[in-house]
Structure formats: structure tokens, C-alpha cells
């Protein structure tokens, strides 16, 4: 007699098979000793596996984690119903994205871009090595031991002119590569999907210290800039910063939320990440609006100077 497939065995043990099938299996057990022995062994194995799993991952611990994740998911939805923040983010997006598509028009080596050429192309922020002092956004190992949210990082081509970075207000910019190789400036609350290739940029009010990180729908925190917690968060020049690598979104559900925290005095990315981790551990999630971020005392104490938080959420 064939062994029961796993799915049927699991449901049999739980006594959640349709009555007819349940009785059929019981009849077989009564008439076929070999099958009955197999079933007894299988039931014992499942009971033992249940015991091990529940011992290793207790119900209390798992239930708490599941609730936190559910709350994070709800938080992503909450932003949809926070009209003031939504309006503010959309308004900001509209004022900075008259055209949402830009084109790779020439290639530049990944070196500091000559000042003369920069002046000639003053309308564009060039995606070149002038930003390389910030380093590459770290893979998982750069974020102080925190698990990364992204499965891989890939470079956008050099020499792409960016519409959407010029004359920008302080905050975060997110670009997505389209299928035809162009790039699209995303607006807050736009939808993004697993596999999307994104490029991040940001501008701080006075370009002194800035830390950019993200939290995904699983609550995983990823540091984007600086590249690791042992690198300085000090910004060398005024003006928008564009990270010099891009990355693909992974399959974390519901949202990817980017946070930028800036200060006019010393700011440590390690302190920021530690604080974020502690905050999420104690509160379940970070605030999902910039107003809430800026009015949360604990978050404003991350630096002695004037701290300002910005947020950018992509729905998934």
C-alpha cells in the first residue's frame, strides 16, 4: 500500500481530513497491519517533530514576532490613511518630478567629475565618482551585524543624468530602472516589486551629517549610507548625494521604508542603527510619518545638534 503523502498525513494527525477520507484511512489501518505500523511511526515522528519545534520556537516567542510583523504590515497600510503625511509626500513628489523619466546620454568613468564639465551641465546631478567618498551601500556585513534586506546589489551605469535631483528639497529620492533601461523617479507611496532595481539619493538641510537606512516589511533594517557603521556619516560637500550603486528589492512583503536622519553636528551611523534596533525591539516599529519621527523625543536625541528626520515609503 502506498504511503500517505505528507499533506494528507499532516491533516490526518490533526484530524482535519474530510470525514470520509478519515474513515477510509482508519479502515485501512484496521485491515492492513503494515500500513498501520507505518502510520504509527509517522504519527510518532510528527509528534516528536512538533515537540522539538515548539521547544525551539516557543508559541509565546513566535506569536509575539508574528504580531509585530502584522503590526508592521498594518503600519504600511496606516500611511495610506494618514492624509496629511500622504498629501505632504505627494506634494513634495509632484514639485520635484515634472518629468519622471531620464535617459543615459553619455558615459563617464567612475572618477571625480571635472568641475568644468559639471558647470556645463549644471542642470544635472551627475552619477559619477564625485560621490564615491560615501562608499558603496553595504551588503549585509556593513550594517553592524544587522541582516540585510536586499538580495544583491548592482551598479547603475555611470554617466546618467538625473532629473529629480536638481533643485530638490531636503529628503530622499528613489529611482527605479525601467525595462528599457531608463529610470523612473518614484513618488512616495508608489508601488515597487521584488526584483526592482533601485537607486537612492538624498539631500540633507545643510549637508553636514546624514545617515540613510531602510526598514522593510519584515522589520529588517539595512544601512545604505554610509556604507558601514565604522564609516563616517559626515558629508563632504553641500548638494544632493546619489549612492553609487543600486540594488534589487528582495521579497520582503508590503513595504520598503527609507529613513534619512541628518544633523548639523556629529552623527554616528552606528548609534543610529543601534537606536533603531532598540526602538523597534521596544516599540515594535518606527514611526511611519516624518511628523511623528521628528516629534519623538528619543529619536531627536540621536545627536546633540539639530536633528531632522525624513521618510520615503514604497508599497509592495
Amino acid at each position: 500500500m502506498p504511503k500517505l503523502p505528507d499533506w494528507k498525513l499532516e491533516r490526518y494527525v490533526l484530524r482535519e481530513l474530510p470525514e470520509e477520507e478519515l474513515q477510509e484511512i482508519n479502515r485501512r489501518r484496521e485491515t492492513d497491519p503494515e500500513f498501520d505500523l507505518e502510520m504509527k511511526q509517522a504519527e510518532t515522528e510528527i509528534e516528536e517533530s512538533n515537540r522539538k519545534i515548539l521547544s525551539r520556537y516557543s508559541a509565546d516567542e513566535m506569536a509575539a514576532k508574528i504580531r509585530r510583523r502584522a503590526e508592521a504590515a498594518e503600519a504600511a497600510d496606516t500611511i495610506d490613511t494618514a492624509p496629511e503625511e500622504q498629501d505632504r509626500q505627494r506634494e513634495e513628489a509632484e514639485t520635484t518630478s515634472e518629468s519622471t523619466v531620464w535617459h543615459p546620454v553619455f558615459a563617464l568613468p567612475r572618477v571625480v567629475f571635472p568641475a568644468a564639465a559639471a558647470a556645463a551641465l549644471a542642470l544635472f546631478i551627475l552619477f559619477s565618482g564625485q560621490f564615491s567618498y560615501l562608499g558603496l551601500p553595504g551588503l549585509n556585513n556593513g550594517a553592524g551585524g544587522m541582516e540585510g534586506a536586499y538580495e544583491s546589489f548592482e551598479s547603475f551605469e555611470s554617466g546618467i543624468r538625473l532629473k529629480g535631483m536638481e533643485n530638490m528639497e531636503p529628503g530622499i529620492r528613489v529611482f527605479r530602472r525601467t525595462k528599457d533601461g531608463e529610470a523612473e523617479l518614484l513618488k512616495p507611496l508608489d508601488h515597487a516589486s521584488e526584483g526592482d532595481l533601485l537607486q537612492l539619493g538624498f539631500l540633507t538641510p545643510r549637508a553636514e551629517y546624514g545617515v540613510l537606512f531602510s526598514v522593510d516589511g519584515r522589520g529588517v533594517v539595512t544601512l545604505h549610507s554610509p556604507s558601514s557603521t565604522d564609516k563616517s556619516a559626515e558629508l563632504a560637500d553641500e548638494g544632493p548625494v546619489l549612492l553609487d550603486t543600486a540594488y534589487r528589492l528582495d521579497d520582503a512583503p508590503r513595504f520598503e521604508r527609507f529613513y534619512l536622519v541628518s544633523s548639523d553636528t556629529f552623527l554616528s551611523s552606528g548609534d543610529v542603527i543601534d537606536m533603531v534596533r532598540d526602538y523597534i525591539d521596544s516599540e515594535g516599529r518606527l514611526p511611519a510619518t516624518s511628523n511623528a519621527l521628528n516629534s519623538t523625543k528619543k529619536l531627536s536625541e540621536i545627536s546633540e545638534g539639530k536633528v531632522k528626520w525624513y521618510i520615503f515609503t514604497l508599497k509592495k
Binding site: P2, K3, P5, D6, W7, E10, R11, L14, E16, L17, I46, S49, N50, I53, L54, Y57, A59, D60, M62, A63, K65, I66, R67, R69, A70, A73, E151, S193, E194, G195, R218, D250, D251, P253, K316
Partner: protein, 175 residues
């Protein structure tokens, strides 16, 4: 009234984790998937009415795991047409793994939005997993997915054609 997630986990969590482990072959990812399954259960608890939770949870676990596999299979480029011969009726674990890998390859190019399909309208991939990997009958697949038996047959027939095409392409590439 919200379901008691601790009680549900205690009764069904081990089953869900075993399912995720089997499909993902990675403890951390399986644990992540298992939690996601219960989050989806919380979001869709109204679907529990009139059905066995184990049936619903098993299906959610399958789809959540398939979504995770899909993100990895994007990077896979090799094909092994010999696996086609191994599809039907595999019970051996190694063979089942090979079948799963083959299904990964087969659906590599599928662009349907699996992310949102924790359950609901079944994807062909989900049906294929139920039939080939879980050894369900047409009738059992139909019962699980809410499709008609003929609908299941049709989906699997189309899939078989695609598999044969894939085999042809792989054969042409190697000869």
C-alpha cells in the same frame, strides 16, 4: 474577534514550518516564511470559515515558499531536461527535490504576480506543485483550489507542453 495566534501557532505552526522547510531547504528562510504565513492568516482570518485551518495554512505556506524560491530562481540559468522524465509520481525525497528544481526552472519566466497570491485564484505553479510534488490527484487539487477537475487537467496539460518546449530548447542548446 481576532484569532488567538499563539494557539493557532501551537497547533499548526510545526506543520507549517515543516512545509516551508521542505520547499525552501533553509531553516532561516523557512522560519521567516512560517511567520509570514501566520501574518497572512491574521489578515485573512475570515477565510477560515467553513474550512479546515490546516488546509488553508498548508496552501498559504506553499505559496509563500514558492514566492521565496522564485526570487532565487531568477538567477538560475542552467536547465536539466532529464528532470522532465522524473516529474510524475515521485515519492523519493531526492527525486522530489529534483522535481521542485525543475518546476523552479519551468516557472522562471512566469511573470504572474505570485506575491499577492498567498491564496485565492491558484497559479499554475501552485497546481503543479500540488500535483507533481505533493502527489495529489486531479480531484484533490480541484478540491483544494476550488477549480473544476477539467480546469486542473487543462492547466497541467498546458504546463506539460511548456515543459516539452523547454526540453526542446535545452536539447537544441546542448547539441
Amino acid at each position: 474577534m481576532e484569532i488567538d495566534i499563539a494557539a493557532y501557532y501551537e497547533r499548526y505552526g510545526p506543520m507549517v514550518l515543516r512545509r516551508c522547510r521542505f520547499l525552501l531547504k533553509d531553516e532561516e528562510r523557512a522560519l521567516d516564511a512560517m511567520q509570514e504565513v501566520f501574518v497572512k492568516l491574521l489578515e485573512n482570518q475570515h477565510r477560515l470559515e467553513g474550512t479546515y485551518p490546516s488546509s488553508l495554512l498548508y496552501r498559504i505556506a506553499t505559496n509563500v515558499s514558492l514566492n521565496m524560491i522564485r526570487s532565487k530562481s531568477r538567477r538560475k540559468t542552467d536547465t536539466n531536461p532529464d528532470l522532465i522524465e522524473g516529474i510524475p509520481g515521485s515519492e523519493d525525497i531526492a527525486e522530489q527535490t529534483a522535481v521542485k528544481d525543475f518546476l523552479d526552472q519551468l516557472f522562471q519566466s512566469e511573470e504572474s504576480n505570485l506575491k499577492s497570491k498567498a491564496f485565492g485564484k491558484p497559479s499554475t505553479r501552485e497546481i503543479a506543485v500540488m500535483y507533481y510534488l505533493d502527489s495529489m490527484t486531479y480531484e484533490e487539487v480541484a478540491r483544494e483550489t476550488g477549480l473544476s477537475v477539467s480546469g486542473v487537467r487543462k492547466r497541467l496539460r498546458t504546463l506539460k507542453k511548456k515543459a516539452i518546449q523547454l526540453e526542446g530548447v535545452a536539447h537544441a542548446e546542448t547539441s
